[in-house]
């Protein structure tokens, strides 16, 4: 690579930015593994903090995973058929509906959580169950699923494929199952990974919706940041990274793949 002055500047900005993003992450990983963060690495490496995190927060990690899985199931059941229906009806109504369900992308989670709390806060059984948090997660992730699938469906010649399946004797349901869903797979996969990733990391809504007995991983994180020693908070963050980073990478890979189809 030929280095000119502008290039050097660009490289410097890029490297500085990367450092800004990665250095604190490395710090937190190290802090979670050292015996005493203030004395530095020289105090030795340990898994003690991770062990404590497990004792303290295993429940919230499990809850987050459970929420992610159920959230995925619900967004699949609601989102994939909805994307299909939106792709089939090009009218104004569908665009309005698409815009409407995308509101959670634009409106801050805090506002949505307040809205949910005020309408359902007094329904005790619902308010205190994990389903209440699930509703928040589905609300937030659903537009990602719908849009991801919709983009792929719009890019293929859905109408011809369906019509040819129909002339071959396939009913609406059979066409959906054997033609629409398999061909929408790249979009579904990208949507699914996005849903899981976002659900595991969701904080803004969850913080408002959770109860003391139902803490998700990020809620537990906030809790540990406020009340635990730095090493434990770091170790917990490390656990979160271990869960989220592979998901993020998979999500980016799947999204790229789906976008190549859409182009």
């Amino acid at each position: 690579m030929h280095m000119t002055m502008p290039r050097v500047l660009q490289l410097a900005v890029t490297l500085l930015t990367a450092a800004f993003l990665i250095v604190p992450a490395i710090q937190s990983v190290l802090a979670g593994l050292t015996v005493n963060y203030f004395r530095g690495i020289s105090s030795g490496l340990t898994l003690k903090w991770l062990g404590q995190v497990w004792e303290l927060y295993a429940g919230s990690i499990a809850l987050s995973m459970w929420l992610a899985v159920t959230c995925l199931a619900v967004t699949l059941v609601i989102g994939v058929p909805a994307a299909y229906a939106l792709a089939k009806s090009p009218g104004r109504m569908s665009r309005v509906l698409e815009e409407f369900i995308s509101l959670p992308l634009a409106v801050p989670g805090l506002a949505l959580a307040l809205a949910l709390l005020q309408l359902y806060g007094s329904m005790q059984g619902f308010r205190t169950s994990w389903l209440f948090i699930l509703v928040g997660h589905v609300l937030y992730t659903l537009p990602f699923m719908v849009r991801s699938v919709l983009a792929v469906l719009m890019a293929m010649d859905l109408r011809s494929l369906e019509e040819s399946a129909a002339t071959l004797g396939a009913s609406s349901w059979t066409r959906f199952r054997t033609v629409v869903v398999p061909n929408a797979m790249p979009g579904i996969l990208a949507g699914a990974l996005t849903v899981v990733t976002l659900s595991i990391g969701e904080f803004n809504l969850t913080w408002m919706l959770h109860t003391p007995y139902l803490k998700t991983l990020p809620v537990g994180l906030a809790d540990s940041y406020a009340s635990m020693r730095l090493e434990i908070a770091s170790a917990y963050t490390l656990v979160f990274f271990v869960m989220i980073v592979p998901l993020l990478m998979a999500m980016q890979w799947a999204t790229d793949r789906a976008q190549r189809i859409t182009r």
Binding site: M156, L161, E163, S164, A165, T167, L168, G169, A170, T178
Partner: protein
């Protein structure tokens, strides 16, 4: 299976009258071609037969004795080859072809047997397990045909099955497709806007224009005795010979042409291949353009009629532009149509 269409018409929700009331019968095993310029309603008629489009009230579609007008597409048991082929990209060649059998819940053994049979008929054995995305245009076209015929449809419908191919491939596949269609022995309706395709493949041709059926008949019939100026022009590019009709002769700008006494008051048309250079010919004109097209020359001749008249010249040499030439047209080759008030465009 006989296909009978009675008074089928279609008005789209935006008010476009794509098809005026049309009646049509296609006999068992017959191959009918719907021929007409772009936008004349061919696809619309085909989709009405398939059940993909609901015709206006009063229309009727019958397969044999059964009235299928209100029957949903998936119950009609038609086979359709789409212009874009619409092969399922998520399935292999085999799975595409077997799809219609699979959704009809044909037992696995029977399904394999029939898929193999169709694969052989369409010469696709070597590609059976390949994904359809890895096929050439011609192969895709054959898969689309194989997929449509595998469930043994009552009627086979093809919407410009060759138009997605490039010109050279189209010519070579035309005869192949004709042969395969004969082999299947299924009543077929074949849409095209290419007359040579229709002439090569169809038993009968239905010529359409602006949503109206102009004429239905055997290829030779349409060629020799077109019912209207539109058909004459569309099949074989007949050119008008505008002149003064006198008993037994037609007076043109470039000479006098003998015509049968019976011709009476009619418009006269002629095709380029029926105009011959002849030193003793009764017509005279000036050669304007000469273009060589392989087997013959195409000559543009001025001053015989108002417009340029074209003639094909099979000789090894052609006169040069600017030369005076004499022409002969045999009275048998002239096409006579009832006189219209104005000269058709």
């Amino acid at each position: 299976m006989t296909l009978t269409i009675t008074n089928a018409s279609k008005t789209y929700p935006d008010g476009t009258r794509a098809l005026r009331p049309t009646s049509l019968t296609v006999g068992p095993g017959e191959i009918l071609s719907l021929l007409g310029p772009s936008g004349c309603g061919k696809t619309t008629l085909l989709r009405i037969i398939a059940g993909l489009e609901r015709p206006d009230p009063g229309s009727e579609v019958r397969f044999g004795d059964e009235d299928v007008t209100r029957l949903a597409v998936e119950r009609r048991n038609v086979g359709m080859v789409f212009q874009s082929y619409a092969l399922f990209p998520n399935m292999s060649v085999c799975a595409n072809i077997g799809y219609g059998l699979k959704v009809r819940k044909v037992p696995a053994a029977e399904l394999t047997r029939r898929v193999d049979e169709v694969l052989a008929l369409c010469r696709l054995e070597d590609h059976a397990e390949r994904p359809v995305t890895a096929l050439s245009g011609g192969q895709r076209q054959r898969v689309a045909l194989a997929r449509a015929v595998a469930p043994r449809p009552r009627i086979l419908l093809l919407d410009e099955p060759l138009s997605a191919l490039d010109a050279a491939l189209r010519d070579s596949l035309r005869d192949e497709l004709a042969a395969m269609l004969r082999q299947f022995d299924i009543t077929a309706v074949f849409v095209t806007h290419d007359q040579s395709e229709a002439l090569a493949i169809a038993d009968r041709i239905a010529v359409m224009s602006d949503g109206v059926m102009q004429q239905i008949g055997k290829p030779e019939e349409l060629y020799r005795s077109p019912a209207s100026a539109f058909v004459a022009r569309f099949i074989g590019n007949a050119m008008p010979l505008p002149g003064r009709m006198e008993p037994g002769r037609l007076v043109l700008k470039g000479g006098v042409l003998p015509v049968p006494e019976a011709a009476g008051r009619s418009d006269v048309y002629v095709r380029a291949e029926d105009i011959h250079l002849d030193e003793d010919g009764p017509l005279q004109g000036t050669l304007e353009t000469v273009s060589f097209s392989g087997g013959h020359y195409r000559l543009g001749i001025r001053d015989v009629v108002e417009d340029t008249l074209f003639a094909t010249h099979p000789g090894r040499q052609a006169p040069a532009p600017g030369d005076r030439v004499r022409l002969r047209i045999s009275p048998d080759d002239l096409v006579f149509l009832p006189q219209s008030g104005h000269m058709p465009e």
